[in-house]
Symmetry: C2
Subunit: 241 residues, 2 copies
């Protein structure tokens, strides 16, 4: 299963807030076995958001949006998702009743904006918080507040559970330039291996972290054995899961 994430937020692009939802989603999806293939951060502009949501919905099996959901002028995500699929925004009678029941006689236009959703969307009652998650085709609309984004994602995750990745890691004492030929040789023998090479500055223990991954556990183990056979004695500090 492939996934994309659209983060909506001037506050992130202008450096006021560091986005916490991307790393959370990336880790969760990896554990679930879902391949996050692209993340994009865009401003609070309906046409821009609609364009990238439409593009992502075609490219990936599941798309998440983060942010831009709420009662104020800069909350444009629902309108944008509706526009991406050419659907009108309609008032959901159940949501309106729930909002009126919660707010009582103080209900105003801003409260009722929260009852407007893209026509024909699915409302997933996840119970956390009370407000349901809006799903339009393969797009899950999540709020940007990290506590709520994360709680909703956890509540939804069984929908996306897939075959997990198997990961092995090798910590290496030498520079990347000294091991590149061995990595290339292992990749030639195991072309489907997901092989990452990450130098670490000023670490007393190792210089490079190698990550070997696949959904096929025996493939990872065979590739790991191949690489360990090629690396000269003394290069490897440690092998980890």
């Amino acid at each position: 299963m492939s996934a994309g994430l659209v983060v909506i937020g001037n506050e992130i692009l202008s450096g006021k807030v560091a986005d916490a939802n991307t790393p959370f989603l990336a880790r969760e999806l990896r554990v679930l076995g879902v391949a996050l293939e692209r993340v994009i951060v865009v401003p609070d502009e309906v046409d821009t958001v609609a364009g990238v949501v439409a593009d992502f919905a075609r490219r990936f099996e599941v798309v998440f949006t983060s942010g831009g959901v709420g009662p104020t002028h800069d909350d444009v995500t629902m309108d944008a998702v509706a526009q991406a699929f050419g659907r009108p925004m309609v008032e959901n009678a159940g949501l309106r009743r729930a909002i009126e029941g919660f707010v009582g006689s103080a209900v105003n236009e801003a409260h009722l904006k929260m009852a407007m959703v893209p026509e024909g969307c699915e409302l997933v009652i996840d119970g956390h918080p009370a407000f349901p998650t809006v799903v339009v085709e393969n797009v899950y609309v999540l709020p940007g507040i990290p506590e709520i984004f994360q709680a909703k994602l956890v509540a939804l995750r069984d929908r996306f559970r897939s075959q997990p990745y198997h990961l092995r890691q090798v910590l290496v004492r030498e520079h990347e330039t000294d091991i590149a030929e061995f990595l290339n040789a292992t990749l030639a023998a195991f072309p489907e291996l997901l092989l990452g090479s990450y130098p670490k500055l000023s670490n007393p223990e190792y210089r490079v972290r190698l990550t070997l991954e696949s959904k096929d556990e025996s493939y990872v183990e065979a590739a790991l054995a191949d690489l360990l056979r090629r690396l000269p004695q003394g290069f490897v500090v440690k092998v980890e899961n």
Copy 2:
């Protein structure tokens, strides 16, 4: 001046590493008065990176890339930037001499990969670290290691200095739904205002942080006065710079 950032890295999409370069760049550019308009995170795939670099280079006045620069198989950014502009990769004689001088007789293919750059690129000697920054047209190719990304960006920043933004912030005691009408009224009177509304959960002091911004200081101050006049007494906790 408008800017875009292309982050290249399977390690970020797979949740192994939280990207520290986006928040750093966002903050730096804001201080410089540059509008960061889009960030995209893509895997280590030449065609994918080339496609988004070409797209961003057309859309924005300046583009930064983060990551994928190095001697191993997963370092594809130079090739991708060359492809984005339809330029061949060529060996730079000065870089080759510098590498050979540094490495000596142990020089290998992986070292010499670092001397390959897109034809006709600019090499900016920023001194930190010794390796220059490669610039192709409006695209600045920066390494992903945060310490080096940040040092290089700081060394380059005077190239991008623009008119700064002026920011005022208002902390509000009430819910967003209770202030939305006042925000809308101020925006109608000050349509060029950059106005953000950010709810904060479980903060004992305030419920919403409002940010008012413009490159025109007197416009921000007039909009702030307008908003403060509209907000009912007792709503405002504090006004900040």
